[in-house]
């Protein structure tokens, strides 16, 4: 990989576990990803797709 070309830092009043859930649990991610849905089992090497709300 090349070096990162975009880095964003934010501070959140929450626990690390809560932030992890917000990044990976579908009920959370749909809210932050404009209603889109992640399709993956989050295992290393697994495929990952981001689906529009209409599928």
């Amino acid at each position: 990989m090349n070096k990162p070309s975009f880095v964003y830092v934010t501070f959140i009043r929450a626990s690390a576990d809560k932030v992890w859930d917000a990044l990976t649990v579908p009920e959370f991610t749909a809210k932050t990803w404009f209603g889109m849905r992640h399709e993956t089992d989050w295992k290393p090497g697994s495929p990952w797709r981001l689906l529009f709300p209409d599928g």
Binding site: V9, T10, F11, I12, R13
Partner: protein
């Protein structure tokens, strides 16, 4: 001024007027800006100070643009560290824009000299914390509880300038 060396964008569930108030009123800044209170004359050319809780001046400068509730621009000299006092001032600009039912706040730090990377570390570490806390204050009424020291790279860069 040269092109911006640091740009930070954050979305806040608030109104442009509220964000403007949070940026310019001491009751707000002391909550999210590491206890600093702002003293600012509300016009271009006016004076601008950020004062530490113990009364020392942290940052001083002048208002370059005062356009509520859209754009605030101030010159910025860190005053509390003697090594930084004599450096060329930088320009800090806040742009406030409506974004749907939220507000997009963009903070830009521009420098007029070839500022060493290490010196930028202070802003790169501090701005995300300050502006995240501003967001928390406006959205929840409570700032973030954070602890932060000046980054090592910045202190080293200051030492190198003295040599």
């Amino acid at each position: 001024m040269n092109k911006p060396k640091f740009v930070y964008v954050i979305y806040i569930a608030s109104t442009p007027e509220k964000v403007w108030e949070a940026l310019t009123s001491p009751d707000f800044t002391k909550q999210y800006f590491f206890g600093r209170t702002i003293e600012i004359e509300p016009q271009a050319g006016g004076s601008f100070i950020l004062r530490m809780p113990d009364g020392r001046v942290d940052v001083k400068g002048n208002v370059v643009e005062w356009s509520p509730p859209r754009r605030l621009s101030v010159t910025w000299t860190v005053d509390w560290m003697p090594e930084m006092r004599d450096l060329p001032e930088c320009l800090v600009t806040y742009d406030i824009a409506q974004a749907g039912e939220s507000v997009r706040l963009t903070m830009t730090e521009a420098h007029q000299w070839d500022v060493p990377e290490g010196l930028l570390a202070g802003g790169r570490a501090g701005w995300p914390a300050i502006l995240s806390s501003l967001k928390s204050v406006l959205e929840t009424g409570k700032p973030l509880s954070l602890k932060m020291e000046p980054p090592k790279e910045m202190l080293e860069a200051l030492q190198a300038l003295k040599r």
